[in-house]
């Protein structure tokens, strides 16, 4: 027998609970992470677009740093070092210093920063592909630079970048699996726990693989629906060429 796969463990209610709980954590991480990532993307793109002194060079350093180093090392650094940098508070009852950011928060922040740096570049390229004439139309109507950004460039850019942003969200979901390495109980963590108890490594990994596949596929489908709903008639990726 080439493969004799044993999926009986899936019937164990404890393991079912673990997987569901882990799935919940994974969804929470990716949900909050995605929202933060988008906020960072828009704010960062605006900072660079408007050439804001001090903030712009800092944003560029952030992008260069986060895009060119491993998100796992970023996460470990955030998790272990932020409290050393003074990000901690004193527990009222025990009087002990406790890190301000939980493992969950660190994971979300590190994902938001890593994928947010990518998002800034994605949104910037979207803004750059808004036709110059459209912007000129806004200027001639008396719009300020800020108004043009808010009402014309950003809405068009965000629509244009849906495909790229979708792969960025998928990347965020995939990267979130590293949460398990800082003891955050996501679906990856519980899967590892199950393999340690059952020794059914291959089977558990197959199930885990499927879980991520379903999540990412759903996200991609959702994004396609969104893109469809937001299509600008007679304008878009195809019409841009």
């Amino acid at each position: 027998m080439l493969f004799s796969l044993d999926f009986e463990w899936l019937a164990d209610p404890l393991y079912q609970d673990w997987l569901l709980e882990g799935l919940g954590t994974t969804l929470a991480i990716t949900g909050v992470g995605t929202i933060l990532m988008l906020i960072i993307g828009v704010v960062g793109a605006a900072i660079i677009h408007f050439n804001i002194p001090v903030a712009k060079p800092l944003t560029i350093i952030m992008i260069d740093l986060f895009r060119n180093t491993p998100p796992l090392v970023q996460l470990l650094f955030l998790y272990f070092m932020l409290s050393d940098l003074g990000m901690s508070y004193t527990d009222a009852t025990t009087g002990e210093r406790i890190p301000l950011l939980s493992g969950f928060a660190c994971v979300v922040i590190s994902l938001a920063l890593y994928n947010g740096s990518i998002a800034i570049e994605v949104i910037r390229s979207g803004i750059n592909s808004v036709p110059r004439q459209t912007v000129e139309g806004g200027i001639s109507l008396g719009y300020s630079r800020a108004q043009i950004f808010r009402w014309i460039e950003l809405p068009i850019a965000l629509r244009l970048t849906i495909p790229n942003m979708t792969s960025n969200v998928v990347s965020l979901i995939k990267t979130s699996a590293q949460a398990a390495l800082v003891a955050v109980t996501d679906v990856m963590f519980y899967a590892t726990q199950i393999t340690l108890e059952t020794f059914l490594n291959l089977e558990v990994m197959i199930v885990l693989w499927l879980i991520y596949l379903v999540i990412t596929t759903l996200v991609v489908l959702l994004a396609k629906q969104l893109a469809k709903a937001l299509t600008i008639p007679g304008f878009g990726a195809g019409a841009m060429k």
Partner: protein
């Protein structure tokens, strides 16, 4: 200095300065001591050996793993990408599904799966081949990267105007010939920035092989932390961030320059 060079230089020194600033903030008076620990452990972190006697571990392992994975993924990716533009609808759809399957799997899960799926010993015709965690890491990482390369390949081919196909067909070329002689030479320069970005991503992703038991820079970093004490954990992580940055950033700058020259050439 051109505007691009200026901004690349700014990014480079900016990031290095930022990392140094964090180190100084964390260690204050003890910065010298932290740097000394890093210096003492540098050989181990960079090569996995003391005194630079070998290059099978540490940061050099990350580099070697990334290069080998890329090589495997390039070969597989070109085949998969070719299947994705095949005239046979069946082959095409199977290839596309396969590509999406590979692309949407978390790297960490693929690495774990490879660790368990691949045997440690393979005997072919009486030869024992030892499949080390290192080799498993290489194979594991090449899977998702294959998908990215296949996609870059397909996009590159689609980026060549349809008129090229038509005119070549009118000249009597066969499909394979058109692809090889006319389309690919035009598509490859278009794909190059994409391939380089993929390589950079792969390189950064090698940090994940820590879970396969390969002695890459991160696993060695953790061992160093376990041996030298937690006090130097921050320094070790900063050092690892810096190593990755020093390798990946020039690559990213070069990619951007390539993209620019391509878009100018249009």
């Amino acid at each position: 200095m051109s505007k691009e060079t200026t901004s690349a230089t700014f990014g480079f020194f900016g990031v290095v300065a930022a990392l140094l600033a964090v180190l100084l903030t964390l260690y204050g008076q003890g910065t010298g001591e932290a740097l000394r620990v890093l210096f003492d452990r540098s050989s181990l972190l960079l090569t996995g050996s003391s005194n630079f006697s070998g290059f099978g571990g540490g940061f050099s392992a990350n580099v070697i793993i990334s290069v080998l994975s890329m090589a495997i993924a390039l070969v597989c990716g070109f085949f998969l990408g070719g299947a994705m533009v095949s005239p046979n609808a069946m082959v095409r759809s199977v290839a596309v599904v396969f590509m999406n399957l590979l692309r949407s799997s978390p790297w960490l899960v693929v690495l774990y799966a490879m660790l368990y799926l691949l045997p440690f010993n393979v005997s072919i015709f009486g030869h024992h081949i030892f499949v080390s965690p290192f080799l498993k890491a290489v194979i594991g990482l090449s899977f998702p990267v294959t998908a990215y390369i296949a996609e870059a390949f397909r996009n590159g081919i689609h980026a060549v105007p349809d008129g090229q196909w038509e005119s070549a067909r009118a000249l009597g070329y066969r499909r394979g010939q058109i692809l090889r002689l006319i389309i690919l030479p035009q598509a490859f320069p278009l794909m190059l920035p994409n391939l380089m970005t993929t390589y950079a991503m792969l390189f950064i992703g090698t940090s994940l092989v820590v879970v396969t038991g390969t002695s890459d820079v991160l696993s060695i970093g953790k061992t160093v932390i376990a041996s030298d004490g937690d006090d130097y954990a921050a320094a070790v992580y900063l050092y690892i961030l810096l190593l990755f940055f020093l390798f990946a950033y020039p690559l990213a700058t070069w990619t951007r320059a390539l993209e620019r020259s391509l878009s100018k050439g249009k």
